[in-house]
C-alpha cells in the first residue's frame, strides 16, 4: 500500500506546530516567572557586566596616553 505523502505531511504539521507552540508557550511562561522571581528576590544593582572588561581596558589605555601626553605638554611649556 502506497503512503500518501501529503496526508502524512499534514499530520506532521499538526504535531509539529503543536509542539512548537506548546514549547514556546511554556518558555514564555517560564520567562515571565523568572522575571518575576528575579525582580522580587534579586533586585540589587550588581549588574556589572564582566564581559566589557577588555573594552574598557582599551579605553583606559587611551585615556592614560592622553593623560601622559597632557602632562608632558604641561611640562614643556
Amino acid at each position: 500500500m502506497e503512503t500518501n505523502l501529503v496526508l502524512e505531511s499534514l499530520k506532521f504539521m499538526v504535531l509539529g506546530m503543536g509542539v512548537v507552540f506548546l514549547f514556546l508557550y511554556l518558555l514564555v511562561l517560564l520567562m515571565q516567572l523568572q522575571a518575576f522571581i528575579v525582580g522580587k528576590f534579586f533586585s540589587n544593582n550588581n549588574d556589572s557586566n564582566t564581559i566589557d572588561t577588555k573594552k574598557s581596558n582599551d579605553l583606559d589605555e587611551k585615556r592614560r596616553i592622553a593623560a601622559i601626553i597632557g602632562a608632558v605638554m604641561q611640562h614643556k611649556k
Binding site: 503512503t3 500518501n4 505523502l5 501529503v6 502524512e8 505531511s9 499534514l10 506532521f12 504539521m13 504535531l15 509539529g16 506546530m17 509542539v19 512548537v20 507552540f21 506548546l22 514549547f23 514556546l24 508557550y25 511554556l26 518558555l27 514564555v28 517560564l30 520567562m31 515571565q32 523568572q34 522575571a35 528575579v38 525582580g39 534579586f42 550588581n46 549588574d47 557586566n49 564582566t50 564581559i51 572588561t53 577588555k54
Partner: protein, 443 residues
C-alpha cells in the same frame, strides 16, 4: 614578443610530436590507468609518457568521458556528469562567487561552499573521496554532524536573549514563522506525489523543509541526518534565501498589513537583569531535555555557547567559540558541504525542486509570522506591530533589520529593531524545535 613566439612554438612542437605518436594507444589504455595504483612503475617511451599524461589531464577527461569512471565514493558517473555536467557546475559556482562577493550573499558560507564545489568538480583528482581533502573534511565533521553543532555553539555565544527576555510573549511570533518549515514539507510532499519531476521520500521532504527555518547550521545538521544526498542543494538554497531576506520579505510584509498596523509604535522594553540572561539557556536546555530530547544536540550546543557567554567567568572560552573556533569550523563546514556540489550529486531534478520549495518556505514563514503578529496585536494589551512577526523566520539578525527598515520607512523614527530581535532569536529556538519533532518522527 619574439620570445613568446619562440617559446610557444617550441612547446607546441614538442607536444605535437610526442603526443600524436601515441594517439592510437590512448583509448586502449584508458581503463588500465584506473587499476595501475598498486603496480610498480614500468619504463615507458616519452610518447607513452605523454599519452598517459594527456589521459590524466582534466580537459581530456571532460572531452572524452568514459564508461565506468567512478566518483569519490566508487559510484559510476554518467558521461553527462563527467563532461557537460562539470561545465554547468563550474558556471553555477562562478555565479555563487559573484553573488557572494559582488552582491554580499552570506559570503562567509557561500564562498567556502562554492570553492568546495569547484574543487569537487575537478576531474581525475577525486578530492571528495575518503582520501581526498574534501572527503577528509566531510568525514571529520559533516558526516557525523559535528561541525554544525560547533557553529551553533558559536552562534549561541554571539546571541543576546535580552530583547526576548524583556518581552517574552514575542516568542510566539518565532513559533508561527515555523509554518514555513511545515508548509514546505507539504509542498515537497505534494511535488513528489502529484508531479513526475521529483520523487522525494518523507525523510527527504523533511530535510528540505528545514530550509524554511532560515538557520544554516540547523539545515545542514538535519540534512546530514535525514538526507545527506541532498545536502549540497539544501545548504546552497538555505544560505541563498537567507541572503535574499531583504528582497523576499518586504513585499509580503506590506501586502499582509495595513498602513496603520505598520505604524504601530511599541512601548520601550524593560531592562533585563544579568541573572535572567544567565538562567535562560539553562531553562531552554532543561525544557529540551524534558520535552524534546531529539533537539538536544542542536539546542544543547546553542545553550552551551550562550551560557558560557552569560556566565561571565569563562570569557576565554566564549571568545574562542565566537572567533577562532567558529572561523575554523566555518571554513571546514563550507568546504565539506561544497563537496556535495559535485555534478553527480547536484545536477539532479531534486535540486530544482529544492530551490522552488525553499523560496516558498521563506515566503510562507514570513506570512505566518506577520499574520500571527496581527492576531497577537488584537488579543494583547500592549500594542504589537505585526511587522516584527516577519523576524520570526530567524535569519538572525538580517530579518530583524529588514523589519526595522520597513517600519522606519512607514513611520520615520519608529525603531523596531530591538522589538524584532525577540521573535528573531525565538525563531532559532522554534526551528530547532521543529527540527527535533521531525527527527523524533523519523527516529
Amino acid at each position: 614578443m619574439k620570445m613568446k613566439s619562440f617559446l610557444l612554438a617550441a612547446i607546441f612542437i614538442f607536444f605535437a610530436n610526442t603526443a600524436m605518436l601515441s594517439a592510437s594507444s590512448v583509448h586502449e589504455s584508458a581503463t588500465d590507468a584506473q587499476q595501475q595504483q598498486a603496480k610498480p612503475y614500468e619504463p615507458k617511451s616519452i610518447a607513452q609518457l605523454s599519452a598517459t599524461f594527456l589521459e590524466r589531464t582534466g580537459i581530456y577527461a571532460m572531452l572524452f568521458p568514459q564508461e565506468g569512471v567512478t566518483n569519490g565514493h566508487g559510484e559510476e558517473m554518467t558521461l553527462f556528469e563527467q563532461s557537460t555536467g562539470r561545465v554547468i557546475m563550474f558556471a553555477i559556482i562562478f555565479l555563487l562567487f559573484y553573488l557572494a562577493i559582488a552582491k554580499g550573499f552570506e559570503p562567509l558560507l557561500l564562498l567556502p561552499i562554492a570553492f568546495g564545489g569547484l574543487l569537487a568538480n575537478i576531474p581525475i583528482a577525486n578530492m571528495t573521496s575518503d582520501h581526498g581533502m574534501l572527503g577528509i573534511i566531510y568525514n571529520m565533521g559533516i558526516a557525523n554532524e559535528f561541525f554544525p553543532l560547533l557553529i551553533f555553539m558559536g552562534v549561541g555565544a554571539m546571541t543576546d536573549f535580552g530583547p526576548l527576555l524583556s518581552n517574552p510573549k514575542t516568542a510566539l511570533l518565532g513559533g508561527a514563522a515555523q509554518f514555513g518549515i511545515f508548509g514546505s514539507l507539504i509542498g515537497a510532499a505534494a511535488l513528489s506525489q502529484y508531479t513526475g519531476i521529483v520523487d522525494f521520500s518523507l525523510q527527504q521532504a523533511g530535510a528540505i523543509s528545514i530550509i524554511g527555518g532560515a538557520d544554516g547550521p540547523t539545515s545542514i545538521f538535519i540534512a546530514s541526518k535525514l538526507a545527506p544526498e541532498l545536502l549540497g542543494a539544501i545548504a546552497v538554497a538555505a544560505y541563498s534565501y537567507m541572503a535574499l531576506v531583504p528582497v523576499i520579505q518586504p513585499p509580503i510584509m506590506r501586502a499582509l498589513t495595513s498602513k496603520e498596523e505598520r505604524c504601530i509604535v511599541m512601548p520601550k522594553t524593560r531592562e533585563v537583569k544579568r541573572l535572567e540572561k544567565l538562567i535562560f539557556p539553562l531553562i531552554v536546555v532543561m525544557m529540551i531535555a524534558l520535552v524534546l530530547p531529539d533537539a538536544a544536540p542542536l539546542m544543547g550546543a546553542f545553550a552551551l555557547g550562550n551560557f558560557a557567554k552569560e556566565s561571565g567567568v569563562v570569557d576565554r572560552l566564549s571568545n574562542e567559540m565566537q572567533n577562532s573556533l567558529i572561523n575554523i569550523v566555518t571554513i571546514f563546514l563550507g568546504l565539506g558541504v561544497g563537496s556535495k556540489l559535485a555534478s553527480d550529486s547536484f545536477l539532479v531534478a531534486e535540486t530544482l525542486g529544492i530551490m522552488v520549495i525553499g523560496l516558498l518556505a521563506f515566503a510562507a514563514g514570513t506570512a505566518a509570522g506577520v499574520i500571527m503578529g496581527k492576531i497577537m496585536n488584537k488579543f494583547s494589551k500592549e500594542p504589537i506591530n505585526p511587522l516584527i512577526g516577519a523576524a520570526g523566520v530567524s535569519a538572525v539578525p538580517m530579518a530583524a533589520r529588514v523589519v526595522s527598515k520597513v517600519g522606519a520607512e512607514e513611520k520615520p523614527g519608529n525603531i523596531l529593531l530591538m522589538h524584532a530581535m525577540g521573535p528573531n532569536v525565538a525563531g532559532v529556538i522554534g526551528s530547532a524545535v521543529a527540527a527535533g519533532v521531525l527527527l523524533s518522527i523519523f527516529n
